[in-house]
């Protein structure tokens, strides 16, 4: 295996990991506030299809990305209304969101299948891009990849040094107490859910506008679910989400590696890898349940209605 191949694999790893990072960071914020949104897969598809339609219609990729974000937020608002305001079961509501998103995206996108667009192009960062290997891997990516680095920094900073981060954690741990302290539990939860939706919408846009600039039914291929597992794997820590997402990215492009090494393995078997990896990761975590218990937001999945 030569250096170029390794560089290419790492380059592709970053690209493949990016949508996972976006969804998982958003979901992490959401879960920190105590809301378990299992609808990320459906939201991701909606972001992808709406972003793609916007790109075809307007021809402006920047606008398309923004519209994908809005689509994600709209989906999460629907989820938030049911699960926060109407205190519905978060698990069932998340599943409903996924089923709904899959159906609606297939419906909306049915006449856009097979259309090609010029996707978001890589943007080399001057000077940095010229560093051997590192430059190619990190600094010749497209703008959304850079955005994912920035968003990671933002989430990390919020939870490690701001009062807002403290508030989100407080609401996710003990909403009754947070309410008694005068915090607006529902407000904070809505904000967290909307942020999660925006991130997932962005990830959807990334898929259909940058990663593979086209629309096909069910193109997210379970990434929304893998991202959910990633949050658990990362023990609700942003830095571990980055690491985990790139590991999963690597698992998803195993076929490249295999081809590079000259192996001939059926593509459908290799396609199982990310899913198998997800299960393995959850197994590893499960054997350390004490740690998981300490890091999971305590009120995760518990609806909250203030007593009036």
């Amino acid at each position: 295996m030569d250096i170029d191949l390794i560089t290419n694999i790492l380059y592709a790893t970053i690209r493949t990991g990016t949508p996972l990072i976006l969804v998982a960071l958003g979901e992490m914020v959401c879960e920190k506030s105590g809301v378990l949104n299992l609808g990320q897969e459906g939201t991701l598809l909606m972001g992808a299809v709406i972003g793609f339609i916007a790109a075809v219609t307007t021809g402006n990729l920047f606008v398309a990305v923004l519209i994908a974000i809005v689509a994600g937020m709209a989906m999460s608002l629907l989820f938030g209304f049911l699960s926060i305001t109407l205190v519905s079961n978060q698990v069932a509501t998340g599943l409903a969101l996924t089923i709904f998103g899959a159906g609606l995206s297939a419906f909306l996108g049915s006449s856009y299948v097979g259309i090609g667009i010029d996707g978001i192009q890589p943007l080399a960062i001057p000077y940095l891009a010229d560093i051997p290997m590192i430059g190619k891997i990190f600094f010749q990516q497209d703008p959304l990849v850079y955005l994912s680095f920035i968003l990671f920094g933002l989430v990390y900073w919020t939870f490690n040094s701001t009062r807002l981060g403290l508030k989100i954690r407080a609401v996710g741990e003990n909403p009754e107490a947070a309410n008694a302290m005068g915090m607006n539990v529902h407000g904070i939860r809505y904000m967290a859910v909307l942020f999660g939706g925006a991130m997932t919408g962005l990830a959807g846009g990334y898929l259909s506008l940058a990663y593979t600039p086209l629309w096909s039914e069910g193109m997210s291929a379970g990434r929304g679910w893998i991202a959910l597992a990633l949050v658990v794997f990362a023990s609700w820590k942003a830095e571990r989400i980055m690491l985990g997402a790139y590991l999963f990215g690597a698992a998803s492009i195993m076929h490249l590696v295999m081809q590079g090494l000259g192996f001939d393995v059926a593509p459908n078997l290799l396609a199982m890898l990310p899913y198998v990896a997800t299960i393995l990761v959850l197994v590893l975590l499960g054997s350390n349940s004490i740690k998981a218990k300490l890091s999971a937001p305590i009120s995760l999945g518990q609806p909250y209605r203030p007593q009036l």
Binding site: L38, G42, L78, L82, L86, V87, S88, N89, V91, A92, T93, L95, A96, L97, I99, F100, G101, A102, G103, L104, A106, F107, S110, S111, E217, A221, G222, W225, I226, L228, A229, V232, A266, N268, L269, A271, M272, Y275, V276, T278, I279, L282, V283, L285, G286, S287, S289, A292, R305, L308
Partner: protein, 373 residues
Amino acid sequence: MSKASWLQSPLKLEKRPSDSQKIAYLSPVLAIALTLISGGLLFLFLGHNPLTALHTFFIAPLSDVYGWTELGIKVAPLLLCAMGLTLCFRAKIWNIGAEGQFIMGALGGGFVALQFLDAESAWVLIPILLAGIVSGMAWAALAAYLKTHFKVNEILSTIMLNYIALNALLYAVHGPLKDPNGFNFPESALFADAALLPVFSDDYRLNISLLFGLFFMVAIWTLMSRTWVGYQIHVLGEDAAAAKYAGFKQKKLTWFALLACGALAGLAGVSEAAGPVGQLIPAISPGYGYAAIIVVFLGRMHPVGILLGSMLLGLTYMGGEMVQIEMSLPKSLTGLFQGMLLFFLLACDLLISYRVVRNKSVNVSVAREATSA
């Protein structure tokens, strides 16, 4: 002095002392009505007469006996999967894996069927069905093992297993089980006639899998309502701490519910392959395993409700095909209707535990004058 006036909305939610049984049964009806209204609006938006379109979607498919038998073909797998899921959901085991268990059932049963391409006796159905059931169970057993031994969240594990099962099926029909005389299509050979489930009448495709569905509907319901193990599953789902307090064996019950569901979903899968489809194809399941989740919620985990729910969801598949043919609308309307239905249902279910009341005017007689005490 008083600063902000207390935020007021004209209506507010108030918790009921006891859940309303009446609303629990009314809520699906309301949800269906809301889905129809939204669907009508959607058709209107797409430039079709909503009534005609709804008629085409929900009524036209059932205008003749053939239509009803076709519905039966769709009800059978939905009913089987939904009864299995009922057991799991009662125990609050969020098994989303009926889809994967269905596919593995089809694959396992199909594999056996493909070994008997020259079979002439219907006895061959027994190993085929058994293989389907066992494959579905094995797939569910993986989830049960992961949950009981490694505390892996079953939602994530079963979803992942669904994707793996789908890829296993794709691998099989692209590779080892591909029909050598099939012009390189990703499909298996057609099963022998003896390896297909008997039909009621040669004019229709409806086969005895509907009887399997009805039988297990009664069996699972008896289990849930009359037996000690059914009671334990119910307690476990409602209140795990109480189940532990009473000494119920959580792991055993988890295994039981998941294995039973896997068996039923596997049976549904093999019945589909050895029934209306008659071979292995990549799209062996049009999402029955996911639709069955909606059936369970819609049917209130009650057998009659689940039967009706299966019929409605089965109808959405036929309606989707119908509007595609008649009105050239995308078939994916099926998924859209299914999603909407579940959404409206969850929203309406709020009324089981809460009621909407008028906000009593909180005209707190705040005295404006300062009082000296």
